[in-house]
């Protein structure tokens, strides 16, 4: 497959290729819909490029295999879908505690509980707040197309290594399952076993009788030392909040109503904006590309032209809380949403927007 060629591909398969081309050689996963194309692709392809695939016995085992492989200096991909991500929260907490890199794809489906296999964004709180114990953050990207997801995977590996922290790429099931034209990234090669100590001096490779032993540990029974450890790594999260937020903004200077939406929902909103424009309503969009850190900066300079801010999401009002924090009381925030695997159509968004605006137009 040549690199710069545009190909029509299914999202999940494109993500797997992008991970391998970003140097990933280790994948651990457990079957769960709608992300099965990722482990299926990895099981066929990783061994051909010097990598390893394990079909784990559970998501709990998968995240801990990733923990071992990452500690050993390998570049790892994990993927799952919402209930599977819930099972991986123990691992997320320990990855952050010991500061190891990881890239995790969450192809989100409707919940709570076992829920549905239809697309959803109801994991917003799960990925941005986490369900693991203790003080930590996960860095979260939210692409709205297959192309953007593929590009974000390469970036996610760099950010995960630089921050020594897990990075989740949250895509709804729609982006995982649909097909779109995509240009895959150039193959970057990968770090061979013998080169790991140079790149990751902290990695467990055996001390070779040449250095003191490397230890990766999470237990700290002395509370004053645990506080010290947390305070020592916390500045990286403050730096992430300064340096990592990304968003797309459209028509904010003219907009009467500003939508906030991410992922595939943002694409539906774009069509709703066209409908509204035809009816004389100027609409704008803030599309967070990072969910944590949330792009508060995008909301700083909303002008007097903005009469309404509406969080549009496939969840029961989860992102809206971050929108409210970003606005800090400067605007009232409304919600347009569907849940449980149901989707919004452009017409429904346009209609509900007009209702929220009091039928003035």
């Amino acid at each position: 497959m040549s690199t710069s060629e545009k190909r029509l591909m299914k999202g999940n398969e494109a993500f797997a290729i992008a991970a391998i081309r970003s140097g990933c050689r280790f994948y651990f996963g457990y079957p769960i819909t709608p992300q099965n194309e990722i482990p299926e692709y990895m099981s066929r392809e990783l061994s051909k490029v010097g990598g390893s695939f394990i079909q784990a016995e559970s998501e709990l085992a998968a995240v801990n295999m990733a923990y071992g492989a990452s500690a050993a200096g390998g570049r790892v991909l994990l993927s799952s879908s919402s209930p599977g991500i819930a099972l991986m929260q123990e691992g997320m907490s320990i990855f952050c505690s010991v500061q190891l890199p990881l890239v995790l794809l969450n192809v989100m489906r409707g919940g709570p509980g076992i829920g549905t296999i239809q697309p959803s964004q109801a994991d917003y709180n799960q990925v941005t707040r986490g369900g693991g114990n203790g003080d930590y953050h996960i860095i979260v990207y939210a692409p709205s197309s297959i192309q953007e997801a593929v590009d974000m995977i390469g970036k996610a590996y760099e950010v995960a290594d630089e921050y020594r922290n897990p990075v989740i790429i949250a895509v709804d099931g729609m982006i995982g399952q649909m097909m779109e034209p995509v240009v895959l990234p150039e193959d970057q090669g990968y770090t061979r076993e013998e080169d790991i100590p140079k790149k990751k001096p902290w990695a467990l490779v055996g001390h070779k009788d040449q250095r003191d032993r490397n230890v990766i540990k999470s237990l700290q029974l002395k509370q004053e030392l645990l506080e010290e450890e947390i305070m020592a790594y916390w500045p990286k999260y403050e730096r992430a909040q300064r340096e990592l937020p990304e968003y797309e903004a459209r028509n904010l200077d003219k907009a009467e109503v500003v939508f906030v939406a991410y992922g595939s929902t943002a694409r539906v909103v774009l069509e709703a904006m066209e409908i509204l424009q035809k009816e004389g309503i100027e609409a704008g969009l803030i599309r967070p590309k990072t969910l944590w850190p949330f792009p508060d900066q995008a909301f700083e300079n909303l002008g007097d032209n903005v009469k309404k801010v509406i969080s549009v999401e496939l969840s029961q009002g989860q992102m809206i809380n971050d929108v409210k924090l970003a606005l800090n009381g400067r605007h009232h925030v409304d919600l347009i949403n569907r849940v449980g695997g149901m989707l919004l159509s452009p017409a429904e968004i346009a209609e509900r927007t007009k209702t929220l605006m009091g039928g003035t137009k």
Partner: protein, 248 residues
């Protein structure tokens, strides 16, 4: 003068945090002695999960990591994929391996993972203060079975070695005891065989050590050794359950 005994380079010269009469120290030293004799200390990676021995990395002079409770076999599977020629081992207690970690140990054996698991069975949860484990004996008094464990309430004690021996991928399974010098020597031999199985990439190797917990058993160190001999061995026979021609 020729030294007749030297401290293994595999152990760091410090006092362990284990209780008087606990056999963790013996098991630690045996594993490290075998690795030293093989010249493998520099090429070894250990995993110790939650339990008293989560701090094993303080004493063992090899690269090591802590693991969440029960997950060490999954963690070791990940390490072994990155470093297939390293000596990878997990060191797990019975509160860990026989309870919260049953899924991970069974599937590591099932995949025929090429690492070793050293299983310290003292029939109780040590670190958390002496609660009943799946391995606690019938009648054994613990803080969650103060009248003694009963089959009706908690089932019969789980025999892990016997169970793992039924799995094809587990090619070497042996139960040893640490209650006497003779048994300690046999235990060391089992550790050496387990590492040989790993070197030759034959499959999963598992050694169970019948061990003491004088503190939570409420026994003196000497009485605790007798408890292994008189109470544990009749239920947990000390023997080889499975081996392969290549290491016999």
């Amino acid at each position: 003068m020729k030294p007749v005994f030297e401290f293994t380079k595999g152990m760091r010269e410090m006092t362990t945090s284990y209780c008087p009469g606990c056999t963790h120290g013996i098991a630690h030293r045996l594993i490290m002695e075998v690795l030293e004799e093989k010249g493998a200390l520099g090429n070894a990676i250990g995993v110790s999960p939650v339990g008293c021995s989560i701090v094993a990395h303080q004493f063992m002079n090899v690269d090591m990591m802590e693991s969440p409770h029960g997950r060490a076999p999954a963690v070791a599977s990940g390490i072994k994929r990155v470093h297939p020629d390293s000596y990878v081992f997990t060191y797990q207690g019975d509160g860990d391996l026989a309870s919260i970690g049953t899924g991970e140990i069974i599937h590591a054996a099932h995949r025929g993972e090429k690492f070793c698991t050293f299983f310290i069975n003292n029939a109780i949860f040590g670190m958390t203060g002496g609660q009943m484990a799946p391995t606690s004996l019938i009648g054994q008094k613990t803080t969650t079975s103060v009248e003694g464990r009963t089959v009706e309430q908690a089932g019969a004690p789980l025999r892990i070695s016997e169970m793992l021996a039924t799995i094809d991928g587990a090619v070497y399974v042996e139960r040893v005891s640490l209650h006497s010098p003779a048994e300690v020597r046999k235990a060391k031999k089992a550790i050496r065989t387990a590492f040989e199985v790993q070197e030759k990439k034959l499959g999963f190797a598992f050694v169970e050590f019948l061990s003491t917990c004088p503190t939570n058993w409420g026994l003196s160190p000497v009485a605790a050794l007798d408890f292994i001999k008189d109470k544990m061995i009749p239920y947990y026979p000390v023997k080889n359950f499975k081996s392969v021609e290549e290491v016999k």
